[in-house]
């Protein structure tokens, strides 16, 4: 985590481009820029700035937004709910769809079902999130009028309204993730199905479904979980785009606005937050191996 923090900070420090000059605008004099730089503490040497930043970070302070002058933690806090709702919803639904798809594809390897699932998987990798999002909107919202075009409702406004606004964004966001997980599920299942213990299970007359789920899937769980964890990266970057397309006021939207305004403290804070979440989830995934495979001990 410390490495990540150091990285995020030094990256933003090393990249050319002067925030003070951006804030001051085109008509500012050198004097103006120098003054803004001094008030922001941008004229201090690297290590001092890094020290101050880490010290503040340890106190739960991510700095103050250059543009709105509000604390970054508060800005992020206001935006957390939609993003968490969107990604969590997508994560659960995607895994629930992708794993059975992969298992079916592996069980019927070479059949038309298998080919169709794999074709969907390659397609899922290739269509960018926002293109898919617009196709979904044009079909289901403006075309058929079944679902709202854009926007977000808090769950406190009623579960149905909340869900209605989440269906399309989750579908757009989840497709790549489903494609990835279905593919790895199929590949690991094929490996496991070739093992001796699967043949034993089949030989002693267990139902095919029982062999698939009880014997094969259980042993394929660890690689699948690994990819579920790594795939979170797709969900995070996808959420930024999805929130932009569907006008969802989440952290992704905050990031895009911050980029357009060159609001460095927000960008720094958001990247640090996302990376922390990513690292923590993958740590949790590592620990979950113990549950799926009792042979693994830490």
């Amino acid at each position: 985590m410390a490495v990540v923090a150091f990285f995020v900070f030094s990256l933003l420090y090393l990249t050319p481009g002067d925030p003070a000059a951006v804030i001051a605008g085109d008509i500012a004099t050198d004097e103006d820029i120098r003054r803004i730089r001094a008030t922001l503490g941008l004229d201090e040497p690297f290590l001092i700035r890094f020290g101050t930043w880490v010290w503040a970070l340890l106190h739960g302070d991510l700095g103050t937004s250059i543009f709105t002058n509000l604390p970054v933690t508060r800005l992020i806090g206001q935006r957390v709910e939609p993003t968490v709702a969107l990604t969590l919803c997508t994560l659960v639904v995607a895994v629930a769809i992708a794993v059975p798809l992969g298992v079916i594809a592996a069980a019927r390897a070479g059949s038309w079902t298998d080919r169709a699932i794999m074709a969907f998987s390659v397609l899922g990798f290739s269509v960018p999130v926002f293109v898919l999002a617009y196709i979904l909107i044009l079909t289901f919202s403006t075309g058929l009028g079944w679902l709202p075009v854009q926007g977000y409702r808090s769950i406190t406004d009623g579960v149905w309204e909340w869900l209605r606004h989440l269906i399309l964004p989750s579908a757009a966001l989840g497709t790549v993730y489903i494609a990835l997980i279905a593919r790895i599920t199929r590949a690991t299942m094929l490996d496991v199905l070739a093992q001796d213990y699967v043949r034993t299970a089949q030989a002693k007359g267990l139902a095919p479904a029982q062999v698939l789920v009880g014997h094969a899937l259980k042993n394929a769980a660890v690689p699948i979980m690994t990819v579920v964890g790594i795939g979170i990266a797709l969900l995070i970057s996808g959420a930024i785009v999805t929130e932009t397309v569907f006008a969802i006021p989440g952290i992704g939207r905050l990031t895009v606005d911050a980029i357009l305004r060159r609001d460095y403290p927000i960008i720094q804070g958001v990247i640090l937050l996302f990376s922390a979440v990513y690292v923590l989830i993958n740590l949790a995934v590592d620990l979950s191996y113990m549950f799926f495979d009792p042979r693994i001990r830490y």
Partner: protein, 293 residues
Amino acid sequence: MPAAAPALPSPSLSPTWLRFKDAFRRHPTAIAGAVVLVAMTLMAIFAPWLGTVDPQALAPVNRLKPPSAEHWFGTDMLGRDVYSRVVYGARISLLVGLAVAVLGTLVGLAIGLVTGYLRWVDAVVMRIMDGLMSIPSVLLAIALMALTKASVGNVILAITLAEVPRVVRLVRSLVLSLREQPYVEAAVAAGTRLPLILWRHILPNTVAPLLVQATYVCASAMITEAILSFIGAGTPPNIPSWGNIMAEARSLFQIAGYLILFPGIFLSLTVLAVNLLGDGMRDALDPRLARRM
């Protein structure tokens, strides 16, 4: 970004090529991918002669015209011909995809070779790579682009930096298994010096898996470029790229969906072609997997 590329080194070059031919015969999808890619490349190169007009030419009178015989893909909010912009846009996507694939693979290869062989470099470099990899790659590219001036060169550099760690990991794992091979031991015993071992014995065996990885990097780079442009942190708006055309149509998609549809279809088709080609190559190089397909 499909799962990791195969780690199976091919014994020598000529059987590899035979296997390529064989696999392509059994994988018509890979051939279709190659054909689409060649077509897109030709389109990008010969853009000025494909019935296009100047992609930047403004014609405010012809704002937001739907597709017609004169404007095949319609016109955008400034009256520019979308067909011309899409055809010229292929240049940016293909350039970024190719440049990132080549640069990323070469840099990753160089770092991976050294870290796989030198213990003390390995410890340091792999920590740095772990740090880079703990930031989701698109996010890293966004952060880099947010801080530099928008230009095609910077987009390429930012995406390359975000993609390199994964190539390094692949090369490193290949090198770690290759260095234990008897023929490498024999070379060491014969007193061959390190640079020559890397060049003669290790490098040729990493080429095949790297080629597969490069296609995946290329596909992922084209999507990342579109995402960057789409959220306003990529290719400068005055250059028509597929991402930019779609970004400009963001607020207009309800009245002019075709502005998003056409570049979207071209982008998806190109990425699909690259992925199919990559899958075909992976099957060719990993017979264990190919037999099950």
